[in-house]
């Protein structure tokens, strides 16, 4: 079975490594890549690392990218423009942890790109304190 892929970006490698552990636990089958921090271990986002992460899980069904702050978006957009195959790659405005969690569960059920994006977006208004 093929799936929509997930890419998680952050300024911190520790953040994306932790998110990866969470996601792999709930859904090990969906292709997942991460990029976080700079080569020298400092905080930041690296356009070339992001490009490689997307390429490593690229699927014509789609790639959903979740990201954290400021330059993560700039570098992700630039990475997408640099890719030769960049159809169906989408940045999603959703909370990093909850959004990627919802996205990978949806993708694991075989959902299409739009449904995976919608699942992540739902987390923007999800009430974590509801009974």
């Amino acid at each position: 079975m093929s799936y929509v892929s997930i890419v998680v970006l952050s300024h911190s490698f520790d953040i994306v490594a932790g998110v990866r552990d969470l996601l792999k636990q709930v859904q090990p089958d969906v292709p997942l890549a991460i990029a976080g921090g700079l080569k020298n271990g400092e905080l930041g986002t690296d356009v070339f690392a992001i490009k490689s992460a997307i390429e490593s899980v690229y699927s014509p069904l789609g790639v959903v990218i979740l990201f954290d702050l400021g330059s993560a978006r700039l570098n992700a957009e630039m990475a997408i423009e640099m890719l030769e195959e960049n159809q169906n790659i989408r940045l999603v405005d959703a909370p990093l942890v909850e959004g990627s969690y919802a996205a990978i569960i949806e993708a694991g059920c075989g959902a299409d790109l739009e449904d995976v994006i919608a699942a992540a977006m739902t987390m923007k208004s999800w009430n974590k304190l509801s009974d």
Binding site: E42, L69, S71, L74, N75
Partner: protein, 209 residues
């Protein structure tokens, strides 16, 4: 005067010197309203630029700008990497095949760079970003053509940089501070001030190799 490869190298060498000279200042500005690494990032990026300039020869300004753009993109980090990287990549498109650039050609290249910043950063004038320095600078060049007074350019970009202090940030991490960002100069405006001021010095003929 026209800008050739040697002049462009002198410009960027001066920028590297000034970025290093102001590394602490840029970082302090960024600690106030950003993530506190602008000076470090810019110094690292321009250090690499300097290394490239020392060992490389360029047949045209397009080739030089492309090399600088890719270097900044890969070495600067933060939002400034893609933004300044985009400036030089856009300039390289306009200056492709040009061994020298007239003021009009250079203005067109810098204007393409500004448009690149606007598209990449999705910011507009008044958002407290480097655009608030670049836009009035380009407007002055476009208006004055061959009769540019470079001393006026230096004053203009300094004033516009200072003026970002009064603005409320709408983009980048400073935007999370809202009105609390007022009272601090935008770090990207401050580094753009260095870039554009040093270009003016090269045209004034005060910088020799």
């Amino acid at each position: 005067m026209v800008l050739g490869v040697d002049e462009a190298k002198r410009w960027l060498t001066r920028v590297n010197d000034e970025i290093h000279h102001n590394k602490g200042y840029l970082t302090n500005l960024d600690q106030a309203i950003g993530d506190g690494d602008h000076g470090i990032n810019m110094a690292r990026g321009f250090n690499e630029v300097q290394k490239k300039l020392t060992v490389s020869t360029y047949a045209d300004l397009g080739g030089l700008c492309k090399d600088i753009g890719m270097t900044l993109l890969s070495k600067v980090g933060g939002a400034s990497g893609p933004l300044y990287g985009t400036v030089f990549l856009k300039m390289s498109g306009v200056l492709k095949g040009c061994e020298t650039a007239s003021i009009d050609e250079l203005t067109a290249a810098l204007d393409a760079g500004l448009k690149g910043i606007e598209e990449r950063g999705k910011a507009k004038p008044g958002d407290k970003t480097m655009i608030d320095v670049w836009q009035p600078f380009i407007q002055y060049l476009q208006k004055n053509g061959e009769s540019i007074d470079w001393d006026k350019v230096i004053i203009l970009v300094k004033e516009k940089t200072e003026f970002t202090k009064e603005m409320e940030a709408k983009k980048g991490r400073a935007a999370y501070l809202g009105k609390r960002s007022i009272g601090h100069i935008d770090p990207g405006a401050a580094s753009s001030n260095i870039l554009l001021t040093e270009l003016a010095y090269v045209f004034k003929g005060e910088v020799t190799s």
